[in-house]
């Protein structure tokens, strides 16, 4: 009880213990706040990029994955893809072409431009042919848009699972066997 009625102030041990406890709690809160700020800052970038990804999928996937691809040609820094879809309404094959290419870090789908930003830069377009080993007549295609996001790289893959029996492909399409 005498110790509790200390008339001289803290001992050095008491002082050190109280400072240590307060310091530990403060450091925890400060590191958490920094962590939270970083996460929120990253989230803003992530959301902007996400919106762009949704538009890309809408522009490309609608044609690439649901129409019949009749021909793929290599053009400078990209591909030209011809699609056809039979229209029951008009009784004709509707033919479409998408030119997808990269120019100076920007991605172009026909005339629509996806700007490179401070943290997103498009670096390549690939079409991969995944061959089923037991039957080389069977394959599916992946259209892959590649890029750099800050220091990380990313790739958006769009799958083509339609009939590929009569499809004409350029010889330099990357072949990946499974």
């Amino acid at each position: 009880m005498n110790q509790l009625k200390n008339t001289k102030g803290f001992t050095i041990v008491e002082l050190c213990v109280s400072i240590a406890i307060t310091a530990v709690i403060s450091i925890m809160i400060i590191s958490l706040t920094i962590n939270m700020n970083l996460t929120l800052a990253q989230n803003i970038k992530y959301k902007q990029f996400n919106e762009e990804k949704i538009i890309l999928y809408k522009e490309l996937a609608t044609n690439f994955s649901t129409h019949n691809i009749t021909k793929i040609e290599q053009i400078e820094n990209g591909f030209s893809i011809n699609y056809s879809k039979y229209s029951l309404y008009e009784n004709i094959d509707i033919v479409k072409t998408n030119n997808i290419y990269i120019d100076n870090g920007n991605l172009f789908i026909d005339n629509q431009k996806f700007n490179k930003t401070n943290y997103i830069e498009y670096t390549g377009i690939k079409i991969k042919k995944i061959v089923i080993p037991s039957n080389h007549n069977n394959f599916y295609l992946i259209l892959s848009i590649e890029g750099k996001q800050d220091t990380n790289s990313f790739s958006l893959d769009i799958y083509y699972l339609n009939d590929t029996t009569n499809l004409v492909l350029p010889s330099n399409i990357e072949v990946g066997e499974i």
Binding site: G9, F10, I29, Y57, I132, I178
Partner: protein, 197 residues
């Protein structure tokens, strides 16, 4: 320094006694009581935020949509719907595909076929390690005694995701769900439906 000052009866002659130990303890305890819940609360918010970021990402939803298209083209999805709707079987979850310790379990295509190879290569290229076909509502609650439901509840991350998507209580007897876990720990789900011939 403070200790020296108190020994010398204060810098300005005001600190004659200094704090007692009980005052110091009360002060530290008060700071701790305020700071610890603040820390715990913030930590929980951050964890919940990071978890939600791994649910239903744009790429994962698109990949799962490709699987959906593949199944409708190459498989009779109504077989799966019948298994869910058969009340005597008491199923709400049907595992379609799973990789555990490099062992592949494929319940869609058990025998060798071209479709099986394409399906498995798709799963590999998309990085899907678990694919489930489930009822739309009451996935975990309708038949809690079912072995697959019990096994699902043991996987806390999967259970949390199912609880998260089950918050949508739109009742539709023709709707089902396709749920996937990807090898980066992400989860995604997409609606399925019964085909009417």
């Amino acid at each position: 320094m403070v200790w020296i000052i108190t020994q010398q009866q204060g810098m300005f002659g005001l600190m004659n006694k200094g704090f007692t130990l009980i005052e110091t303890v009360i002060c530290v305890v008060t700071i701790t009581i305020i700071a610890v819940p603040l820390y715990v609360l913030t930590r929980n918010v951050l964890n919940a935020y990071n978890t939600r970021n791994s649910y239903d990402t744009v790429e994962n939803l698109y990949d799962l949509n490709s699987v959906k298209v593949f199944l409708y083209k190459n498989y009779d999805v109504n077989i799966l719907c019948d298994l869910i709707d058969d009340n005597s079987a008491k199923n709400t979850i049907i595992p379609l595909y799973q990789i555990s310790n490099t062992k592949v379990t494929n319940n869609i295509y058990k025998n060798f076929s071209e479709d099986k190879e394409i399906f498995e290569s798709l799963m590999r290229s998309m990085g899907i390690e678990l694919l489930l076909f489930t009822s739309y509502n009451d996935i975990l609650d309708k038949y809690p005694e079912n072995d697959i439901v019990k096994k699902t509840k043991e996987d806390k991350e999967l259970e949390n995701y199912i609880k998260y998507i089950s918050k949508d209580y739109t009742k539709n007897q023709y709707m089902y769900r396709l749920i996937a876990r990807f090898n980066n720990g992400n989860y995604s789900s997409i609606n399925m439906y019964r085909l009417k011939y």
